[in-house]
């Protein structure tokens, strides 16, 4: 008796992606929606990391998912489907970015070589930014601006690893770079963001935010 879509969705049951992919290849194409559902957000995050524009990122994400469907027979079971899908998304976004490159200026930080050590610029005591402040749109905006100012190679590693929680290895595979490169770029991305958000330097914005009486500012 064939499995039903519902049986694949049972709470607590691990998704059998191998079975889903086999059935899609055999013609049950509507199951592809089920296969990609958990990764839609990641695909968008990957294209956004590269294109930095929501509309372009969404269009690239759609195209990437469609390409994944059309080339599902090329997927090799030894790889993780999510990594393969993100790879397609990254390639799609990079291709579009290359087309735009003539008019896109890279921020200054992107000119840094990732060889050599990075020296943190701010040594003041770190005043923690609590997660609760993310409820505030202006805080999210400042964090987004800081992330946006990173060079592409740092931003994409940081987004896949720290925002989408891909493993270091999967991040390396998705981006087509080595594991040591991922680690180096991740270190730089984290330290650069820290500098950008530190109150003494780029993070002086945090002092301007008002707090209700009794609440401790960071």
């Amino acid at each position: 008796m064939p499995e039903t879509t519902a049986s694949l969705k049972n709470a607590g049951e691990p998704r059998n992606e191998e079975a889903l992919i086999r059935r899609i290849r055999e013609g049950e194409q509507e199951l592809f929606y089920e296969l990609i559902r958990p990764y839609e957000r990641r695909v968008f995050a990957a294209t956004l990391a590269i294109l930095r524009n929501e509309a372009d990122a969404e269009d690239a994400a759609q195209e990437a998912v469609l390409k994944a469907f059309k080339h599902i027979r090329q997927f090799r079971a030894e790889a993780r489907f999510s990594t393969w899908l993100i790879q397609i998304a990254v390639n799609e976004a990079r291709m579009r970015r290359r087309k735009q490159q003539a008019v896109v200026m890279e921020p200054m930080v992107d000119q840094r070589d990732d060889e050599g050590d990075y020296t943190p610029r701010d040594f003041a005591d770190w005043r923690e930014i609590p997660s609760e402040t993310l409820e505030r749109a202006e805080v999210r905006q400042k964090l987004a601006e800081a992330l946006s100012s990173l060079g592409q190679k740092y931003r994409e590693v940081f987004i896949l690893r720290d925002m989408q929680q891909l493993s270091i290895e999967d991040t390396a595979k998705a981006l087509g770079i080595s594991v040591p490169s991922v680690k180096t770029r991740l270190l730089r991305a984290r330290l650069m963001l820290r500098d950008l958000l530190a109150p003494g330097l780029g993070g002086s914005w945090s002092k301007a935010l008002s707090f209700a009486k009794g609440n401790k500012p960071w």
């Binding site: 957000r41 968008f44 956004l48 969404e58 759609q62 469907f69 990075y118 923690e128 964090l143 720290d162």
Partner: protein, 199 residues
């Protein structure tokens, strides 16, 4: 093992990933205890990971999923199953009917008969004069006392009556029916044997 600030900065990310060996880890922890600058670097990097790892930091545009599914639907090959499936089903049904008809016409009539009366009817002499009511179902030997509507009777041969779809009366034509039943079974058996062994 003593580590300098530069080494701590180089390894701080790996330290947060839990990817430094135990000796280095112990050395870094010792360093953090005495260096507030490096502690500030560590705290800041950890805070950055915590903040950006929060789901609120990446808002997928409203309707993203629906638009994605719509695009997929447009890009997927159309299911030809409906039209093609119906055509195939009709073709198959026609084939079955055709083969059934061919089978019927090629078999001995004795095997096709489905009732005792009909089977026996074939042994009634075709030129035997019989009567039947025009809008009835049965044909009789003239004078049969089981004829109804005697004023509507038509005279014909038994062959004509059977071609018209009339069935023989089980009373007045009883002798043909009994004989036919036995003969019919024998013929059917012979026909089955011939099918199993065409030689």
């Amino acid at each position: 093992m003593v580590v300098r600030c530069e080494e701590v900065w180089r390894e701080v990310s790996n330290y947060l990933e839990g990817e430094v060996d135990p000796r280095m880890r112990a050395a870094m922890e010792e360093h953090f205890r005495g260096c507030k600058h490096c502690t500030a670097v560590l705290d800041g990097a950890r805070n950055v990971i915590q903040l950006y790892g929060d789901e609120r930091m990446l808002e997928v545009p409203l309707g993203f999923s629906q638009r994605l599914h719509r695009r997929l639907e447009e890009g997927m090959p159309r299911r030809r199953g409906n039209a093609l499936g119906w055509m195939m089903a009709l073709g198959f049904a026609a084939l079955v009917l055709l083969s059934f008809e061919v089978g019927n016409s090629s078999r001995p009539s004795v095997l096709d008969l489905r009732s005792d009366m009909a089977r026996s009817g074939i042994h009634i002499p075709a030129d035997l004069a019989v009567v039947a009511v025009s809008d009835g179902k049965i044909f009789h030997v003239p004078g049969c006392r089981f004829i109804h509507d005697k004023d509507k009777l038509q005279t014909m041969t038994a062959g004509e009556a059977m071609r018209e779809g009339y069935a023989p009366c089980v009373r007045c034509l009883k002798k043909y029916l009994s004989e036919g039943q036995i003969l019919g079974q024998k013929e059917a058996q012979t026909a089955r044997l011939e099918e199993e062994d065409p030689e």
